[in-house]
């Protein structure tokens, strides 16, 4: 029982970060129809920007995370405007190939700039765990979870309660009609990609201090993000949130009670089951968007 509680807490914290990764990708993949293999690289970018800001520039923790968000948004914007915009009418395969290129270029760029040795990102919180009965958790992880929930909530508000969010949903539902209604299509595409990338970058900046920063860290993040998106249904924010938590807890319990050698397999078995039984994802509605 004590073990179960600890496993559930671990799973919740892990799932929160999966959710954050998944939400960014569900916007890009689900709404924009771009199979974004570079999503994990924005996660890596966030971790390295946070590292640079915290160690080289010596700013405080929150400023470091904000810097990562700004960098992720800026590079995401640039990426959309220079690479994806000219290909907007091409097939999904073409943009997928371009994003694979971005993935390889960014990963090798990181290797070139930072080298292959992992970097530890400093943080100002105590390392002694908070102990509540049988459960122990590091203060940093609590803060990461709180910030992740905050980011998830603000994304939801942005998509559902603002004019930009409405424009996004309208654009990806029917681009021509949205354009006729006076929506600036180009700006909406760029904003969506920048927003999704900023979320990935934020996830990297939040998790960097928990784990380590190294050039190939984004590969696993990409894989988890795609899993979450498939689990929750394309373009579905609620789905990505719940899917992320579900995946985190399933992996944790699978590793704890089945075998740690099959930890990732547990997550994928669930995904296969979802694809067989509910091919459009756990939370997909009749209509895919919003």
């Amino acid at each position: 029982m004590d073990q179960l509680l600890q496993h559930l807490v671990n799973g919740l914290v892990l799932g929160g970060t999966y959710a954050l990764l998944g939400i960014g990708l569900t916007l890009i993949f689900g709404l924009m129809n771009v199979v974004n293999f570079a999503h994990g690289e924005f996660y890596t970018l966030g971790a390295y920007v946070a590292f640079a800001a915290l160690t080289l520039a010596g700013v405080n923790f929150i400023v470091g995370i904000l810097a990562a968000i700004v960098a992720g948004a800026a590079l995401g914007w640039l990426c959309e405007v220079t690479l994806l915009r000219p290909l907007r009418n091409e097939s999904i395969d073409t943009t997928m190939l371009v994003m694979i290129g971005v993935w390889i270029a960014m990963q090798n760029g990181e290797l070139l700039v930072w080298g292959g040795v992992a970097k530890s990102i400093p943080h100002p919180f105590p390392t002694a765990p908070l102990v509540m009965g049988p459960v122990a958790i590091a203060p940093l992880r609590v803060i990461v979870l709180v910030l992740a929930v905050g980011l998830i909530a603000s994304s939801w508000l942005l998509i559902h309660q603002t004019k930009l969010g409405r424009a996004m949903r309208a654009t990806f539902q029917d681009r021509d009609t949205a354009a006729l209604m006076g929506v600036s299509i180009g700006r909406v595409h760029a904003a969506t990609f920048a927003f999704g990338s900023a979320l990935a970058s934020a996830a990297g900046a939040l998790l960097g201090p928990v784990f380590l920063a190294y050039p190939s860290m984004g590969d696993l993040a990409s894989l988890k993000a795609f899993s979450v998106v498939i689990l929750g249904g394309l373009g579905n924010l609620t789905g990505a949130t719940v899917g992320g938590l579900l995946l985190g807890i399933a992996e944790e319990l699978g590793a704890g009670y089945i075998s740690s050698g099959y930890r990732d397999a547990v997550g994928f078995v669930i995904i296969i089951m979802v694809l067989v039984l509910r091919p459009s994802g756990l939370f997909a509605r009749q209509e895919r968007i919003g």
Binding site: Q3, N10, L14, A138, F211, G254, D264
Partner: protein, 390 residues
């Protein structure tokens, strides 16, 4: 091209020819090197390359081998077994090297091995630790790194002093990790320790809380950890977060305690590490003078200190090959292989001498490297109390 530049080129060519004339009949000796210079384990591969270059420069500074300079032809296996096989083929067929050093990871070495047999070229294995490498009956393989069984035997004498009674294992889910668990598990059981949980983690996994929660429940006193330094850092940090409260012993010799101190901080305090080189106190190595010279040269070249625990393998591998070429008296693959059986030299790690391992008639060579234990104490790497000189 203008007339003047043609003249210039001709002049340069003449000058070059003049420079090389004394050694014209003495073409450089080629040694092939296959290492991961890019990809996930690029840092390690590059450290080995740096160590190999030090060995080459030292040999050449002493006048080379029988008056011939040594030339390293270095190929990148991109941390990928497929690339390791094609790198071996390229070195042998196109560059015509008579001997190779490589290929870091066990899976990369195993992938390159059939090529050695196909073309009949020996390879000195400097890092890989999977037992199967010398058990497959490939007579072109000469290994200077210890397989897990040898490492476990090397640790046996310290088990009582470490106070290992109930042990749990956490290892990367590869041939190396699984092999280490079975080798150390057997040895510890023989010494009377109880074996609790045997947990695995994916090579790229970053969150090991589930495994640690399970390990915590066994109530053991020691955790044996086998993986690369990045994951060791993560496990240590997460063990601290969960208040695991175990003695941690890392195996495999790639743990780079210096990097752990930098990155895991207090979480690494008190942990023990099996290493094959102790650059913190080179004078305690079998050949203290050589070890010290290597550490000094490394620093002089501006290489990072934490790379030394990998870099020495590059030196020892090239030194072994150079010695074999000297014994053989010529740079032919078969002659070098025969000579490798006869070499006996002192490397940075200690004495290198090959003994037969694997199926009779097709044995591979396996040297018996020195094995050391260090501890992280007060944020520094130190000899454990039971090894420190009284």
């Amino acid at each position: 091209m203008g007339k003047r530049s043609i003249v210039l080129v001709a002049l340069v060519l003449v000058a070059l020819a003049a420079l090389t004339v004394p050694g014209a009949s003495q073409a450089p000796l080629k040694i092939g090197v296959i290492q991961p210079l890019s990809g996930p384990v690029a840092a390690s591969g590059n450290y080995i390359r740096m160590g190999a270059e030090i060995a080459r420069d030292w040999i050449n500074a002493r006048g080379g081998i029988a008056g011939r300079k040594v030339d390293l032809l270095i190929e990148d296996n991109k941390s990928d077994p497929k690339e390791a096989a094609s790198a071996a083929e390229k070195l042998i067929v196109r560059d015509k090297v008579p001997v190779i050093m490589g290929a870091w990871g066990s899976s990369m070495t195993l992938a390159a091995m059939p090529k050695l047999e196909e073309y009949g070229v020996p390879m000195v294995v400097e890092t890989s630790s999977a037992a199967s490498i010398t058990k497959r009956g490939n007579p072109w393989i000469f290994r200077i790194s210890p397989p897990s069984e040898m490492e476990a035997l090397g640790l046996e004498q310290y088990v009582d002093k470490l106070g290992v009674k109930r042990v749990d294992f956490l290892a990367v889910n590869t041939d190396w990790g699984r092999g280490a668990i079975s080798a150390f598990g057997d040895m510890l059981q023989k010494k009377g320790a109880a074996v609790g949980a045997k947990e695995f983690m994916d090579q790229s996994a970053t969150d090991m809380n589930a495994q640690l929660t399970k390990i915590k429940a066994t109530g053991g006193d020691t955790l044996f950890l086998t993986t690369a330094v990045e994951q060791i850092t993560l496990v240590m940090k997460q063990a601290q977060e969960q208040r695991l409260g175990r003695k941690i012993v890392t195996t495999g010799g790639s743990s780079s305690p210096t990097q752990l101190i930098k990155q895991a901080g207090a979480a690494a305090e008190g942990s023990y590490h099996i290493v094959f080189f102790m650059p913190w106190f080179p004078e305690a190595m079998p050949d203290g003078k050589l070890a010290k010279a290597f550490v000094d040269e490394w620093a002089k070249r501006g290489h990072p200190f934490e790379g030394l625990t990998e870099g020495f393998r590059g030196h020892d591998g090239i030194a072994t090959i150079a010695e074999a070429i000297k014994v053989a008296g010529k740079d032919e693959a078969a002659a070098i292989r025969d000579a490798l059986w006869k070499v006996s030299l002192m490397g940075v790690n200690g004495p290198i001498k090959f003994e037969k391992d694997g199926p009779a008639g097709k044995e591979s060579g396996q040297s018996k490297p020195s094995i050391f234990v260090v501890q992280i104490r007060d944020g520094k790497v130190a000899l454990p109390d039971f090894l420190a000189k009284k």
